[in-house]
Amino acid sequence: MSLLLMLLLVGGAIAWYSERFGKELPAKIAIVVLLMAIGFFAYLIRPVLGADSSVSDGLGFWLLVESHVWIPRFGITFSLAMDGMSLLLVGLTLLLGVVAVIASWSEIDMRAGFFHANLLWTLAGTVGVFLAVDLFLFFLFWEVMLVPMYLLIAIWGHEGRAKASMKFFIFTQSSGLLMLLAILTTAVAYVTATGEWSFSYMDWLDQPLTGPIATWVFVGFLLAFLVKLPAFPFHSWLPDAHTQAPTAGSVILAGVLLKTGAYGLLRFGVPLFPDAANTLSTPLLIIGVVGVLYGAVLAFGQQDFKRLVAYSSVSHMGFVLLGIFAWNTLAWSGAVLQMIAHGLSTAALFMIAGALQHRLHTRKLEAMGGLWRVMPRMGAMAMFFVIASVGMPGLGNFMAEFLILAGLFQAWPLLCAVAAIALVTGAVYGLSLLQQAFHGPVAEVNKSLPDLHWRDMLALGALVIGLLVLGLYPQPVIDLVMPTLNAISTMAGS
């Protein structure tokens, strides 16, 4: 697994260097690197798919583990491990990496090499976050993936990039500092209890933190995750960052970076501090519902294509929060599905938004209209992904939201009813987006726009297939994450 990270890091450096030999070379190298990474990833997980070899290996729900000594003074190790959940998310990251490179194929004309290097490094950081099981390493990846992402927004972003990139970095970095404080508090508690330093997730599970300090530590973790998710009062960085980022940046940001928050909650927050998480679950569920509705309402009011999609992300990620704190495996599996489905559909929508901006030089919905007639391929794709994201049965997002609501209903019927309103509001803003951009009369200036390139169709086609599979036959995916969720359920004592 460390080879996978290495491949992305070195690939980034090569892409940077290749800039001097040709303008399109970095993008081609990035694609090759990502395809190699996907190939290597497939090779890695080949033995673990299908057979339930993991249980017999005594690894529990882990499929692969890897560990190297790093800083013995603090018992810090370079430990990576993969279970069903991280497998899915790493797969998603690599796939969306390819989509991101394709989406920005002709958009980037300045410093293409450095752009693709940053893109690959962000992906490496994200993959690291999904694989790290040493909390020090996790924190390191968590912070390090921000720097290239920051540069992506700050250098290649749109007109308001200065403010947007700054806001993004400050929000995530300062909440990250609180997480560092929380991590170190847990580590010091571990030393006090056992006499030895360790930042290992598995060690910490064996020596759970109790008492009032656990709540504070959980809050430290929680804030970092809620900012990243983003949950309702901490979401204000997201619309700016998504809107101002270049297309590839938005795709990665919405597709995978937001998932790190939800992943962190499920992987670390809930299992390490079950009591604290349980005590706080009511306010968190309310935050989730507020986020779901508030995001939907704001999305409806937006006149900027990307901003609209960004606010819809706030709404959809609110569902993930609901799923996590509904506190049963049904809702958790829904939350994981939602992460994947939202990643696929939102990435596609941002890609379409990017393509529109590239052609129209604006993101304003007023300047669009009737584009279906001009660009039928783009119109059809946009319609597919919009109805997917508003929760059309048969597609991934519906399945995910259904599972979340079903799980939530068991514990909190009333809250579930309120959250279900979002399915209606979602349809409202989704269809209004579609109507304003693709229906109605065409403006004269827009009559001769080129339709999507075959490369774009290929990338979007892959996302379509992904959503269809998730929507029609999600069982293999659920089977993949179930061992993990069951283990978390046991740890959480629910």
Binding site: I71, A154, L177
Partner: protein, 478 residues
């Protein structure tokens, strides 16, 4: 003094003799290239002496000085910083047309003072080191005699620094009156039974004097002006060698004299720390000049460092606090040195960036990638982003703070760091923004500077990624 003592003190002795020799060389024949080379050789030789393994235990050389692993470590650090400063100064001296001989000599003398400081175990030695360092610094800051801003900075530093030394002296006198000794550890023993209020005031006065030199709030007023007015390499020297040596001496005094038992001193330190972290970072927000910005940020960094000092005696063994202080000092020195090396690299005739105004650095990434990378890496390290040495320093600080459960200090640290991200990032944003039309390219860097740049980048990143070798080294030395 016998041979073993001389051997233990070899770095200091070599440096002293070397300075006299270079002084003679200047008197005999004025050749700036020769002086410069000799000075670099002298620093390298002295550093070589540090590397010779000495006895493991601490060795008292007269009641004034002590040679131990701690002193050796900081001597090494100070010498390296002085070496980098001297290499980088060549460019500035050439651009300014300033006299090389005296400049080099003053840098060496200041380094000598710093080395005395890190060896001192007696208030008299501390004062000696402080004054050798300080007097050289006054002259260095005002070295460009035709620039009013430098003269003003030098004068400011002279007046305020002398006043603070006077306060420190008075405090020392009170301590002497109360305890009958100036040696650090004897003072600790005597303090335990002495009239507490009386000597505590003395200790606080010494602390105030030192706090001035470290530019802790509320003794920080001089910092931005002096940072801005002094020649860039001298500012780098002031920010690293001078502060590190003084902090190292403070750390030894605080620990040997068991000042942690005096709650008033600890409270005062806590107040200084919180004020420095918050005020330093807040004032840095509005700075448009990079040297002023780094000045304010150094105030905040000294505030962070105080956390390590405060927790030193609070935990059972105090190991974490000590290690944290040493690590943070190393991290701070390397990162600050890197930042000022990058800025010095921009200094040449008529180059707009030489003023260190933020806008003048726009697009530096595309014009001069190496220097921009160096500046970026150093700023990220100062901000404490992982994979840089600054993060390991901050990690140690937070770990030590958590162990001692000083939550209010940690909250201030988190707040301060969150604020600091803004101004560090703004500089990085400027570096990466599109270049202004007509921005000039600097002449090619000398091979020496390029080498220094590359090694500083490597040092910041390598120590951040693989801290274990340094951790092992510290475990052996401390």
């Amino acid at each position: 003094m016998d041979a073993i003592m001389f051997q233990a003190l070899a770095p200091l002795v070599t440096l002293g003799i070397g300075i006299v020799a270079i002084m003679l060389q200047i008197a005999i024949t004025r050749r700036s290239g020769l002086t410069h080379t000799l000075a670099l050789l002298l620093l390298a030789l002295s550093f070589g002496m540090v590397l010779i393994p000495g006895s493991a235990s601490a060795m008292d050389i007269t009641p004034l000085l002590v040679v131990d692993g701690y002193a050796r470590l900081f001597t090494g650090l100070v010498l390296v910083a002085a070496f980098v400063t001297l290499v980088m100064s060549e460019r500035w001296l050439a651009a300014e047309g300033a006299e090389t001989g005296e400049y080099v000599l003053l840098i060496l003398l200041a380094t000598f003072g710093a080395v005395v400081l890190v060896h001192s175990q007696h208030l008299a030695a501390l004062l000696l080191g402080l004054e050798i360092l300080g007097v050289s610094m006054y002259t260095l800051i005002a070295y460009p005699q035709r620039q009013p801003i430098a003269i003003e900075a030098g004068l400011k530093y002279l007046v305020l620094s002398s006043a603070s030394t006077a306060i420190l002296l008075f405090g020392g006198a009170l301590l002497y009156a109360g305890t009958g000794t100036l040696g650090f550890s004897e003072m600790g023993d005597a303090l335990a039974e002495a009239n507490v209020v009386f000597v505590t005031i003395g200790a606080l006065m010494v602390l105030a004097g030192v706090a001035f030199k470290l530019s802790l709030v509320p003794f920080h007023m001089w910092t931005p002006d002096v940072y801005e007015g002094a020649p860039t390499p001298v500012t780098g020297f002031l920010a690293t060698v001078s502060k590190v040596a003084i902090f190292a001496a403070l750390l030894r005094w605080y620990q040997d004299a068991s000042l942690v038992n005096h709650s008033l001193v600890v409270t005062a330190l806590g107040g200084l720390a919180i004020a420095s972290m918050l005020v330093g970072n807040l004032l840095a927000l509005k700075q448009e000049n990079l040297k002023r910005l780094l000045g304010y940020s150094s105030i905040a960094h000294m505030g962070y460092l105080l956390i390590a000092l405060i927790v030193l005696g609070m935990t059972t063994d105090g190991v974490m606090g000590f290690e944290a202080a040493v690590w943070y000092l190393i991290a701070y020195t390397v990162s600050t040195l890197a930042a000022f090396a990058a800025l010095t690299g921009l200094a040449h005739d008529g180059h707009a960036a030489a003023t260190c105004q933020r806008e003048a650095l726009a697009g530096l990434f595309w014009r001069e990638p190496l220097q921009a990378l160096l500046l970026t890496v150093s700023l990220l390290s100062l901000a404490g982003v992982p994979l840089t040495v600054g993060f390991i320093g901050k990690f140690y600080l937070v770990a030590a703070g958590v162990e001692a459960q000083v939550w209010s200090l940690l909250i201030a640290l988190v707040l301060g760091s969150a604020i600091s991200i803004f101004y560090y990032l703004r500089v990085i944003y400027t570096l990466a923004s599109p270049a202004e039309p007509g921005a000039d390219k600097a002449p090619r860097l000398a091979a020496g500077s390029t080498l220094i740049f590359v090694s500083l980048i490597t040092a910041v990143l390598f120590m951040g990624m693989f801290p274990s070798p340094i951790i092992d080294l510290l475990a052996r030395l401390l």
